[in-house]
Each structure stands twice: as C-alpha cells, then as structure tokens.
Amino acid sequence: MLSIQNLHANVDDKHILKGLNLEIKPGEVHAIMGPNGSGKSTLGHVLSGRDGYEVTDGAVQFLEKDLLEMETEERAREGLFLAFQYPVEIPGVSNMEFLKASVDAVRAHRGEDALDSVAFMKKAREFCKAVDLNQDFLKRGVNEGFSGGEKKRNEIMQMMLLQPRLAILDETDSGLDIDALQVVAEGVNSLRAADRSFIVVTHYQRLLNYIQPDYVHVLAGGKIVKSGGKELALELEEKGYGWLENEVA
C-alpha cells in the first residue's frame, strides 16, 4: 500500500524528517505517536504534497506508484486522504459544493460515472448522520463557524464519502470530547477493510482505545525510533517519551 524509504524533508530550510522508513500493507492500521515537534504532522503534509514541504531525499511508493511525482490532487484521486489537524474554513463555498466537486473529481479518475445530485445528496446525508453532523452543515460554508469537534467530524464525513485506499488522520483526536471521539472512531472503524489502510497520528494513547492499531511507531527526531504492537502505546502512556529519546541518543 505505502512504502516509505529513508525520507528526508525540510520545512523553511529546517531539516524535520531525517530518514524515515515505513511499510504499510493493505488492511493495516498504523499508529504514529511521538512528542511535539518530532515531525508527525510534517509527515502528513509531505505525503499530501503541500507546498513548502521539500523532500530532499528518499522515496515513497503508494500503490506501486511514485507518490512524490504526483500533484496533490492526483494523490487524492489515487486514494490518499489526509484528515487535517486544523481543517480550513472557506466562507462563500458551501460544504455541499465542495464535497460534490471532490467526489466528482475522484469518481471521474476512477472511471466511475458522476453521481447525480439526488444520489449525491443521499450519500452526503447518510454520512452526516453517521458522524452525527446536522444536515444544515451541508449548506454552510466549508467548516465556517464549525466548532473544533464539528470540523473533525466533517473530515471523517469526507473520508466516508471519498472511500480512500489510505487515510492519514493527523491528530484527529485533539480537542475532541469523549462523545466526539467515539463518533470519529466509529467512523474510522466502519471503513476498515482488507484493501484499505490507515495511519493514525496521535499524541495520546486515548484514541487507540477506540481504534485498535496493528502497529504502533514512535517518531522522534524525524525518524521512527521504535515500533511494536498496540501494547507499545500503553507503555508510552505510562513512561512518556523521554526514555526513548535517551535510547536513541
């Protein structure tokens, strides 16, 4: 599904990712944990192709294709989805217009027929309900005036609509209360499938009680310093990250 080898990346000439390696097979859920500033969010931005995130070395294959050669929108159409830590507000563009443009683009790339408005609205309503978002949100500007939790649920709702092959959840749990956390986790779990993988980037172990990962990795100093099963998350919760940083040093 995804293969990252020796990935180095700079942001504003600052060396953030320093030789990151990661292999993800179809159907797997990988959690990436780590202290602040370790490069967790940078990884998501680099994989999504954000301007200003410069890859200086290494390679990334996504579904056997060279991911780094693709434009951001091509990556999305190929099935890569990034749930933002801070979803963007776009007043003046309705959520519905935005979602339809997105779904149309992805379906066209897959060679599927465009959904007509009725079929699209049916799906949109269904997924709104699944993440407990009021349907009125569809008519409002993209994320405009949404609370933190509503924005995160909107991200999950988009993921459900787009049915990606690989979803990266960038600190989707931050700022969520326990109810919202469960809604988000249920959304993710409902999409788990043999041909779909997830990267769950998180600072806390809490989310992993609801989304059971197959692997847990610790990102520190721009590379993965330790990998293990889900029990590693509990160990981190207990001990913090300090001992690992010492181990690496």
Binding site: S48, G49, R50, D51, E71, T72, E73, R75, A76, R77, F81, L82, F84, P87, V88, I90, P91, G92, V93, E97, F98, K100, A101, S102, D104, A105, V106, H109, G141, Q158, L162
Partner: protein, 450 residues
C-alpha cells in the same frame, strides 16, 4: 471653466419649476475646478478618458441621423437581449427603464403601483410631487462638495422620483434599469433618482446599470439621493454590469433620520473609468447602515469606490464590508472614510476591505480612513491585499479538486461570502452564475459553484 467642462453641458432647460435648482448647480459646475490627480479624492483615478472621450449631451448633437440614434432609436433585438440578461428571475419588480438616457414607457411597468407608493418622472410630476421633489432634491447630495453632482444638477432634464408613504411596507422592489448601447456619437448622459422613504415605511430599490455587448461610448454621470425618515428601512442594491468601455461617475447619497436602517449592496465590474461616491449621513440617533460591496475589474479596467459615512449624532451603527478581486492589468481604488463627529458618542462602526490580486500587473490602492472626534465609541477598520489563501487551495486539492477548479471556487467564495448575505435571495441567485462565469472561462470549472 475648462473646455472639457464646457463640452459636457448644454443650455437646454429642464422642468421650469426646477430652473433655480439647475442654475445654482450650473454655477457650481463652472466655478469649481476640474479634478486632477493632484486633487486628493482623485489621486488614483484619472479623468483623462472623459477629457478625451468627446462626450456631448444629446441636445448638443445636431446632425439628423445621429440625432435620431441619440434619441434612443436602437435595434429592438439588442434591447431584448439586454433586458433578458438583466432579468432577475424570481423577483417581481416595478420597472423603470431608460435606454440611452431616455425613459422607455413600453419597457417599464409603472402603470399600476402598490398602494402607498408614488413613482413618477420629474417631467410628469403633479404639483404635490413637484413640491416633494423641490424639498428633497439636492438636500442629500451636496453639489458644492462633489463637482460631478453639480454637473448632474445643472444638466438635469428629468429624473425618477419614488416616495414610499408613511408606514407602507412594499415587498416588490422598484428596479431602475439604466441601459446604454453603442452610439454613433459619444454621449454624456445624466441619470438621477430621488427616493423618499417616509416614517415607518419599508421598501427596496434595485438600481441596475447594464449595456449591450458592443463597445460602449456613453458617459453616464449620475446621482441617487435616498432619504430615510424616522424608523424607515430601505434595501438598496446597485449593480454595475456594463460592458468594459463604459465611462461612469456616479454618486449615492443617503440621509438616515432617527432609527432608520439602510441595507445596501454594491456590485461593480470595471469600466474605462468607473467612479462611485457613496455617502451616508447618519442624522438621527439610532440609525443603522449595513453596506456590503464587491468590485471585480479585469483586463485594463478601472473601478474606484469612495465611501464616506458621517456619524453626526450618537448611538448610530455602521457595518461596511467591501471586497475586490482585481485581475490582469486592472486597477481598483477603495477609499473608505468613517467620520465620527464630536457629539456622536456610543457609535459602533466597522469597516473592512479585502482584496485579492490575481495577476502581477493588477493594482489596488486601498485606504480606510477613520476620523474620530468623540471619546466613547467602538470602531474598527482594516484593509488587506493578498493572493488566494495557500492553505485553502491545498485543502481543496487534497480532496482531489484540480488546482484550476480550486482557484475558481476560492475566488468565487471570496465574493460569494458577501453575496450570501443579501436580503433578497433572488438577487443572490441571479448574481452567482454571473460571478462564477467571471472567474471561470471554462464552464467545467464553474459547474460546482453556481
């Protein structure tokens, strides 16, 4: 008086009962200096296009065929297509239509008016209406402060008078449609509207300026005066959708008495020169002004908004938001002044102006001006000039939307955020496809937004 000032006027008299008004304005026109780039309020807008455009009043043109065409003889199919494209679906309007400055009875629908609404041309006013017009005309727009108001007053042959009587609530807007077409001879046209909304009344006015698609050669100088009496409310729309060779210098001057509310929306495409002066005078306590506007010059067009809100008395509020998208080598000017007088305590005033430049050659000169002489007020103002937001663009692209379509959506959204707020949904629905079309040459790119 310069030659140019001489060529824009004629000696033809307007209605005799306005002779003294006309004379006073003529005197102000000839005694005031022609604005140059050294005149502060004209610093960024050159009048050269008007100086060299050869514009003459219709009556100054004598030759036969030119005269006939100048009198409004234009092809019916041209007018039909302009009428069709200016039609606001879903909005029942009382239409007052002018073609190249001449009132068109056949295109207008003023024969049956809702009760409590008076509407007439100055030239057809009865004696009571004449008295009303004389009372209010020139009481809001100050010819001694605005040289083109003096020009307009001196050249006044006719105008539209609308009165909404006390406590009348009118749902259907009065729409004044100002149509120009290409003329054999470049014309200078005077447009005038006077609206009086009496105590407790509520009404809507749509002023729509449109043209045929061919290259325009008319110069319109216009003045709209809005008188909002105690507790009245007016929705005022001004839509400037003319072809890009249009020349226009126009003013909207409003006076708000006690607890009156003016809610206005402006839209302006660019022209050879397009200058709009908007003046709102809060004269009664508790008055409220909500003003949104968008300007969208492209190619080598020019558009200039000068707004001035006068807070002369306490407890009034102003909320003004203007946004512009300037493309190609177009130029926009925005000057937003809020003047809070010494006695205007407890004023709440906000002014925001945001601009998007979509080309390296595009230019915006923006200047919010807050002048405060009272000490117990809450005021804020701000102006920004930027490119499309990088993060928003990225967000849309991570959802598979192409860069081109994402740019169209974001440009549209930047403007549509204000269109979304207009009171009459039919007007918003009418404007959205027109705006979307402006940002997307390829229909594929606008299919999701309008």
């Amino acid at each position: 008086m310069l030659d140019i000032q001489q060529t824009l006027i004629d000696d033809e008299a307007g209605p005799s009962w306005l002779a003294d008004f006309q004379t006073a304005n003529n005197n102000l026109w000839s005694s005031q200096n022609w604005p140059t780039r050294k005149t502060e309020s004209w610093k960024y807008t050159s009048l050269k296009a008007i100086e060299t455009g050869g514009y003459r009043p219709r009556s100054a043109i004598n030759s036969g065929s030119d005269q006939a065409q100048a009198n409004g003889a234009v092809s019916g199919s041209v007018i039909e297509s302009v009428i069709a494209s200016s039609r606001i679906e879903g909005l029942e309007t009382i239409d007052v239509v002018f073609v190249n400055g001449a009132f068109s009875p056949s295109l207008s629908s003023v024969d049956t008016l809702p009760s409590g609404v008076e509407l007439c041309l100055f030239s057809q006013a009865n004696s009571q209406q004449q008295a009303d017009i004389r009372e209010h005309l020139g009481s809001v727009a100050k010819a001694e402060q605005h040289v083109f108001v003096a020009l307009n007053g001196g050249q006044l042959k006719d105008g539209v008078f609308v009165k909404v009587q006390k406590n009348t609530v009118v749902d259907n807007p009065v729409r004044v449609l100002w149509i120009t077409t290409q003329q054999k001879q470049s014309l200078a046209l005077a447009q005038r509207l006077l609206v009086v909304v009496e105590e407790g009344a509520k009404a809507s006015i749509v002023e729509q300026f449109v043209s045929s698609e061919e290259e325009q050669n008319c110069f319109t100088h216009g003045v709209t005066e809005l008188v909002l009496q105690d507790n009245s409310k007016l929705f005022h729309y001004r839509l400037h959708q003319e072809q890009e060779k249009t020349a226009l210098v126009s003013g909207v001057h409003a006076k708000l008495l006690r607890s009156a509310t003016l809610e206005s929306f402006y839209l302006a495409f660019g022209g050879t020169i397009k200058r709009l002066d908007v003046v709102v005078d809060h004269q009664g306590q508790g008055a409220h002004c909500e003003m949104n506007g968008v300007y969208l010059p492209r190619n080598s067009q020019h558009v200039d908004f000068h707004t001035c809100i006068e807070h002369a008395v306490p407890h009034c509020t102003t909320n003004e938001v203007f946004r512009g998208i300037i493309g190609d080598s177009a130029k926009a000017v925005f000057n937003g002044r809020i003047h809070i007088h010494k006695d205007a305590q407890k004023t709440l005033a906000q002014l925001s102006n945001k601009n998007l430049l979509t080309s390296n050659k595009a230019e915006i000169d923006t200047k919010p001006e807050l002048e405060i002489y009272a000490d117990d007020v809450q005021c804020a103002h701000g102006a920004t000039v930027a490119q499309l937001d990088e993060m928003s663009l990225h967000y849309l692209r991570t959802r598979g939307v192409s860069t081109e379509e994402a740019k169209v959506m974001l440009s549209f959204g930047f403007i549509n955020a204000l269109v979304d707020q207009v009171h009459h949904q039919a007007i918003a629905n009418y404007l959205r496809p027109i705006l979307a079309n402006l940002f997307a040459q390829d229909p594929e790119l606008m299919r999701h937004i309008a």
